[in-house]
């Protein structure tokens, strides 16, 4: 009766990390509980119906869940909660999707009233066809994703036993010469492959591309990779050529500029969601080959139309990759139901402890507005307020001081507002990469930064994701997209690649005191704070003092 776990009546689980049984407990509850927060002392997990159903799908039963809770719990577990777990888990598997030899895809039920209940739902009716017998109903094959999503919302998740198509075979091997997949990457690949489809959550810089490559080597089939932008597409290609048996010619790029379809094709979300005359002309890409695997990079950014296409792809294996599965639009559950449940998740600090990402020092620099700025801020229109405080002149001085302090290291200055960045670029005498910078120019500048020709780079939000800049050790954020939690995490991710000399990375967020900039900053930091990154707060005056 002195376990590390406290089971709360609101279905959160509090895990005391310093407890000797904490690791065992973490392993026991990980299959069914979502890690919600991982600060220094107590990690918070949450029991959700989705998590419990995923656990059922992975072969765990209610008794195991209850046993794990009861075994590690410090206090008696509320009975109502145990009953609720058993009831929730019992809802899974009453309905199954399977292949019928003559009727194709069918929905079968072991519990007739449940089938009656869901067939009565107006949302299910258009997705199903004829009733073969009292327990079986035909499902239109194209609606496999839709019906799964709908049933999930109705609270009767279907077990999908219809399997996957193998896709067109294509030989892909990992070229492990002088390197090897890290243990957690292997676990992630195995977890994904075992589950069929799903999402792998790894911190920025922890090598998600290699997890993708590992999955491809498992599938040994033609693969479609969806990424956020062209630069990222090139990086994927580069990395795949380097790490696998694939050659340049086998990998195609499908973007605004090139339209290559090869055994492995890397496409951008942007080109897929380009709409002309009310239709999406590039959608046929999904059907252009018999893909055996579809990889979604940065799945937290998955645009809404792609959700819809993905629903039609349920027969193909899908792998989602992300560092921060927090969507400000709250569509996390759509990601889970359409791409698949979370198959692997590692707290950032744990990967840091293993030395695969650099330790980071996160600092919030508070600057005071001058009196005239305060007045201007107070009189600004509501929608202009953030811009006003985020681009205050004092921030420039602080940024200059920081750049000077870390002279000789590779520094990224990241911001939201172009004129602010231009001004900073001018003052710091550093090149600026923004939306209008052509791709060729961007790559040139990134290369120069990697090789150390330039040591300071001012970037807009185009560099938020998937830009691999291993040498960057200092990031200075002067403004951001309001309170976006994942943006903050992604920006920190820019400096988390392990450094060759193993030294610390620095992340500075410059914030105007007593303004909404400060409120947004607090919100932005929440994800990282919950991942265990404790921000230090310093006053601008300290930095500016000689």
């Amino acid at each position: 009766m002195n376990g590390p776990l406290i089971v709360q009546s609101d279905k959160t689980l509090l895990l005391e990390v310093d407890h000797e049984l904490a690791d065992a407990c973490r392993r026991a509850i990980a299959p069914f509980a979502e890690l919600e927060r991982a600060p220094e002392h107590i990690h918070t997990y949450r029991l959700t119906p989705l998590g419990l159903w995923n656990a059922r799908a992975a072969g765990h039963d209610a008794e195991q869940v209850v046993d794990a809770l009861v075994e590690y719990s410090r206090y008696p577990v509320p009975h109502a909660l145990l009953v609720d777990i058993a009831e929730t888990m019992a809802r899974y598997g009453r309905l199954t999707l399977s292949k019928h030899p003559t009727h194709g895809l069918v929905l079968t039920s072991t519990d007739r009233p449940v089938l009656e209940e869901i067939l009565r739902s107006r949302k299910v009716q258009p997705l199903v066809g004829e009733r073969i017998d009292p327990d079986t109903v035909v499902v239109h094959p194209s609606e496999r994703g839709q019906i799964k999503q709908t049933l999930l919302k109705l609270g009767w998740p279907a077990e999908d036993l219809a399997g996957y198509v193998d896709g067109e075979a294509h030989r892909i091997d990992l070229a492990e010469d002088g390197w090897a997949l890290r243990p957690y990457q292997k676990q992630a690949v195995e977890g994904f492959w075992h589950g069929g489809s799903g999402v792998v959550v790894l911190p920025c810089g922890a090598g998600k591309t290699l997890v993708g490559a590992g999955a491809m080597a498992q599938a040994k089939a033609t693969t479609l990779i969806l990424v956020t932008n062209t630069v990222s597409a090139r990086q994927w290609k580069h990395e795949l050529v380097k790490r696998t048996s694939l050659t340049e010619d086998e990998i195609g790029e499908y973007s605004g500029t090139k339209k290559e379809i090869r055994p492995v094709t890397i496409a951008t979300y942007q080109v897929l969601t380009t709409k002309r005359k009310g239709i999406y002309p590039h959608l046929e890409l999904f059907d252009s080959r018999d893909w055996g695997l579809i990889v979604y990079d940065e799945v937290h950014l998955l645009p809404a139309p792609v959700f819809k296409f993905t629903a039609d792809l349920q027969a193909r294996r899908r792998l989602g990759l992300t560092a921060t599965l927090v969507r400000e639009d709250g569509r996390e559950s759509d990601v889970f139901s359409l791409i698949g449940p979370k198959r692997f998740d590692a707290p950032w600090k744990e990967i840091e402890a293993q030395g695969y990402i650099a330790p980071a020092d996160c600092v919030e620099v508070r600057v005071n507005l001058t009196d005239s700025e305060r007045l201007a801020y107070a009189t600004a229109e509501a929608e202009e307020k953030y811009r006003f405080c985020a681009t205050t002149a004092t921030k420039r001085k602080v940024t200059e001081a920081l750049v000077k302090k870390f002279e000789g290291q590779q520094i990224l200055v990241i911001g939201q507002y172009i004129d602010q960045l231009d001004e900073l670029g001018e003052h710091l005498d550093a090149p600026v990469i923004k939306g209008e910078t052509p791709n060729a120019q961007r790559e040139k500048l990134f290369d120069a930064f990697r090789t150390g020709e330039i040591s300071v780079l001012v970037v807009s939000k185009v560099a938020n994701f998937s830009i691999d800049l291993p040498e960057a050790t200092v990031a200075i954020q002067v403004s951001g997209t309001f309170g976006s939690r994942q943006e903050e995490a992604q920006r920190l991710g820019r400096v988390l690649r392990p450094k060759s000399d193993g030294h610390q990375a620095h992340f500075y967020s410059v914030v105007a005191r007593d303004t909404i900039d400060q409120d947004f900053a607090a919100h932005r930091q929440r994800f990282l704070a919950e991942q265990g990154y404790a921000y230090r707060i310093v006053d601008a005056d300290e930095l500016l003092a000689p």
């Binding site: 002392h41 410090r74 009196d371």
Partner: protein, 841 residues
């Protein structure tokens, strides 16, 4: 029947022979030992109030309808079946006949084993008297249980041949006799006797039925297990015709036929009941857990119960919801409470009633009536958790209020509201005790199969609540269902099995156990509660005095916090998650609240440092300093509202801000603004603009807002409404038995002079109440007239000659010869009664 035979049950016989068999119930009672009388009074405590004068009066009272109904309702199924069987047998019935009615011709070992106990029980309760060769059911019980057209018997039997043919023409009887092949006789009485003899003779009856057509047999089949009445057309079909001709069906009206009791019994093989249930169903074990698992689950639930009660009453600290005019709480307030507690409305109603029953909340009795915690709640809060728990469950055990009814409707279609009137259900405590008692009979750690529990409860009290039609829907089953659910919520059971502390608690008064306890050495309720609390205490988590602070601005208390700490922290931070531990989140708003309550930033830092087991994270320290820096920076006066600030830029800011326009601000001085709005509106306005102003008193001090606790005046908890009088204790029983004995001796002592004969006309007859009742009852049976003295409502005395028709509920309904109409007289107004001389009628 003559009077002498009728008043046997009550009347004092002229001669008492100890050796001979008792001839009346009173005699039978007199023959009992004191222990036997005490047993009767214990089982039927209603006979004790008031204490009867003598055994005759006791016997009379034991024969009244109300008391007999009460006693019958408390019989278990087999005893009731035994009584029902006696009611269909001739009176008196010898034991073998009774046994035959229950077992049928084949016999049944279980019934044979169970019957003596059932008869003994009926005898003890004075429902049956007489030796085994002459068992008599008391008359009222016989009337209640014997089949009649209006009240079909549970046995499904019809009237006897004698009863069914009583109105029939002698000619018709002759025809039947002839059809049955019996020797004709002109005497109708012997004709009926011959027919009865034929129907009760298995062999002759068998050969008679052999001649019946299959159709006729199938008609009999349909009537045999009841109801025994069937509709016929004016010209019935051949099989029915044949049955009617042979007297196997007898007419009760031109269109209705009845199957005589003797025929039905023959067809049933002699059994009065289709399914006698001599053995109580045993509650089945659903699952077995280790007792430790059960205790810990129950303790967890007990902890949750305490937390819920505290949360509920804390939220009413500044006054709870309004009391409806008809009493109780509105549905909307109940919904609100339920969502605040994050439970269903049924559960919320339970917690509310629990608090009310424990005297922790009550209406404040003000003009604008509202619910609020009582002073007892404050005392309760100061107790250790286990004792707090005991104080919740002890009143629950005896409470008659049933929260399960909330949301339902009463007989008049009004919705029953929580804490409102009409929620008392007298059987509730008894059912609760039985449910827990039955759980206690299972091996430790076992949870019971609920349906088997309910079946057992129905067996124990088949008549009570039987009015509700569907199975399981009757009040007792519903009460039992609620009792199970509530016991789980309270942590008396864990995973459905009775916990250790609950077992200790159950040494408590329930109708039987208290009296058994009083005689056998049980313990006082408070002692049992204390024992239960002692057992529970080590199972509850120990209170902690520290929290863990984290950089994401949360604090986690890894267990229940000690009280002052919990209160202080609840001001400084918002509660985010509750349960075994508590998660608090610090926000600017919560820190401001703490500052508003009069603390300074330094106090807060010191407080956190003192109670945190971890270093105070820098973001938290900054948060407090940030809020404190701005807290009170702006000051708002009350006079007609002003804003004052040493920093005139801030005032510039405010004045420049468009959002301030609604506040009607005007600059008074470089550092002072005046406002048109009232101070509180101004405070809100400024806060919404992102400032942290502080209110100022007229003398310029900062006003401190701190939470007050709102209480009712001293209130007592509601008194349970038990069913009938309380169970008598030993002292009362002893005294009562002695008093009855003494009275009886006085009444039965052989007097020198015979009782005075009815006085001559002019004086009112005077008789004792018992004698009046017995005489009037006897007259009602025989339809004879009596002479009564009567005092009307104005006190005027008169003498009347009446022919009693019915004696019921303290009233005599009678044909009044004097007034020549049917009137009703309250028995207590009748001063006395005298039989009329024969020539007077």
């Amino acid at each position: 029947m003559g009077i002498g035979e009728l008043d046997r049950e009550a009347h004092v016989p002229e001669v008492t022979g100890a050796a001979t068999a008792p001839r009346t119930l009173a005699e039978a009672l007199r023959a009992r030992g004191d222990e036997g009388l005490a047993a009767l009074l214990r089982a039927r405590p209603d006979l004790l109030s008031p204490v009867p004068n003598d055994l005759t009066q006791l016997a009379t009272r034991a024969g009244t309808r109300g008391s007999v109904v009460r006693a019958l309702e408390r019989l278990d199924r087999f005893a009731l079946q035994t009584a029902e069987a006696l009611a269909v047998a001739q009176d008196p019935a010898p034991y073998p006949v009774l046994l035959g009615l229950l077992t049928g011709d084949e016999g049944d070992a279980e019934i044979e084993a169970a019957l003596p106990a059932a008869v003994e029980l009926l005898r003890e309760q004075a429902l049956v008297w007489g030796e085994d060769d002459r068992l008599r059911l008391v008359r009222t019980a016989r009337e209640l249980l014997a089949p009649s057209a209006q009240h079909p018997s549970p046995t499904g039997l019809g009237p006897t041949v004698a009863e069914a043919t009583s109105g029939m023409s002698p000619g018709r009887v002759q025809e039947i006799i002839a059809a049955a092949g019996l020797p004709t006789t002109h005497d109708p009485v012997s004709a009926v006797a011959a027919l009865t003899a034929l129907f009760t003779d298995r062999d002759r009856m068998g050969s008679l039925l052999d001649t019946a057509s299959p159709d006729a047999l199938s008609v009999l089949d349909r009537l045999v297990w009841g109801p025994p009445y069937g509709e016929v057309t004016a010209k019935p079909a051949a099989p029915v015709q044949w049955l009617r001709d042979h007297g196997l069906l007898l007419p009760v009206s031109p269109r209705t036929m009845v199957l005589p009791r003797e025929v039905a019994l023959h067809l049933r093989g002699g059994r009065a009941h289709r399914a006698p249930e001599p053995v109580a169903p045993v509650p089945g074990v659903l699952r077995e857990y280790r007792p430790q698992v059960v205790d810990s689950a129950a303790a967890g639930q007990a902890q949750l119960a305490l937390a819920t009660v505290e949360e509920l009453l804390k939220s009413w600290d500044r006054g709870g919801p309004q009391v409806l005019r008809a009493g109780g709480m509105s549905v909307r307030d109940l919904k609100r409470t339920a969502s605040a507690l994050d439970v269903s409305e049924e559960t919320a109603a339970f917690w509310l009633e629990l608090c009310y029953g424990a005297g922790l909340l009550a209406s404040d009795g003000e003009a604008d009536e509202r619910y609020a915690p009582t002073p007892a709640y404050d005392d309760w809060l100061d107790l250790p958790p286990a004792e707090r728990w005991a104080l919740l469950v002890t009143p629950w055990l005896t409470a008659t209020r049933t929260p399960g009814l909330v949301g339902g409707q009463d007989a008049k279609g009004r919705t029953l509201s929580v804490l409102g009137p009409d929620l008392d259900r007298s059987p509730a405590p008894e059912v609760r005790h039985r449910v827990l008692g039955l759980l206690a009979t299972l091996p430790p750690g076992s949870s019971a199969e609920p349906e088997s529990l309910f079946a057992r409860l129905r067996w124990e009290r088949p008549l009570r609540g039987a009015s509700a039609a569907e199975e399981g829907g009757d009040l007792r089953s519903r009460l039992a269902r609620w009792a199970l659910a509530e016991a789980e919520l309270l942590g008396l059971t864990g995973r459905g099995a009775l916990s250790g502390p609950a077992r200790a608690l159950l040494n408590l008064p329930l109708a039987e156990a208290a009296s058994a306890g009083a005689l056998g050495g049980g313990v006082e309720p408070s002692v049992a509660a204390g024992r239960a609390a002692t057992l529970l205490a080590p199972l509850l988590p120990e209170a902690v005095d520290h929290v863990l602070l984290q950089a994401d601005l949360t604090a986690v208390a890894p267990g229940p916090l000690r009280r002052p700490l919990a209160d202080a922290l609840a001001v400084l931070a918002d509660v985010e998650s509750k349960g075994g531990a508590t998660v608090y989140r610090f926000t600017p708003g919560s820190v401001r609240r703490a500052l508003d309550s009069g603390q300074t930033a330094t106090d807060l830092h010191a407080f956190l440092k003192a109670h945190a087991r971890t270093p105070v994270p820098q973001p938290l320290a900054y948060l407090i300093d940030d809020v404190a820096r701005r807290h009170g920076h702006l000051r708002v006066g009350a006079a007609s509202a002003y804003v004052r600030c040493d920093d005139d830029t801030v005032l510039d800011e405010i004045l420049a801000d468009r959002r301030s326009s609604s506040l009607g601000l005007r600059r008074l001085a470089p550092t002072v603004l005046a406002a048109q709005t009232d101070p509180s509106g101004l405070l809100d306005g400024l806060r919404s603009m992102g400032y942290a102003p502080a209110a100022e008193s007229t003398t310029g001090d900062v006003l401190i807002t701190r939470a007050d606790a709102y209480r009712t005046g001293a209130r007592t908890a509601p008194v349970p409404v038990p069913d009938g009088p309380p169970a008598p204790d030993t002292t009362l029983l002893g005294a009562a038995v002695r008093a009855i004995r003494a009275g009886d001796r006085a009444a039965t002592a052989v007097r020198k002079e015979p009782a005075a004969a009815p006085t001559a006309a002019g004086a009112l007859p005077r008789t004792s109440a018992a004698e009046t009742l017995a005489t009037v009852q006897a007259a009602a049976m025989t339809g004879s007239a009596v002479w009564i003295g009567y005092v009307n409502a104005e006190g005027g005395a008169s003498q009347r000659v009446i022919a009693p028709v019915r004696v019921e509920g303290g009233f005599v309904t009678a044909y009044d010869h004097t007034a020549d109409e049917v009137r009703t007289y309250p028995l207590h107004r009748i001063t006395g009664v005298a039989e009329l001389a024969d020539d007077q009628v």
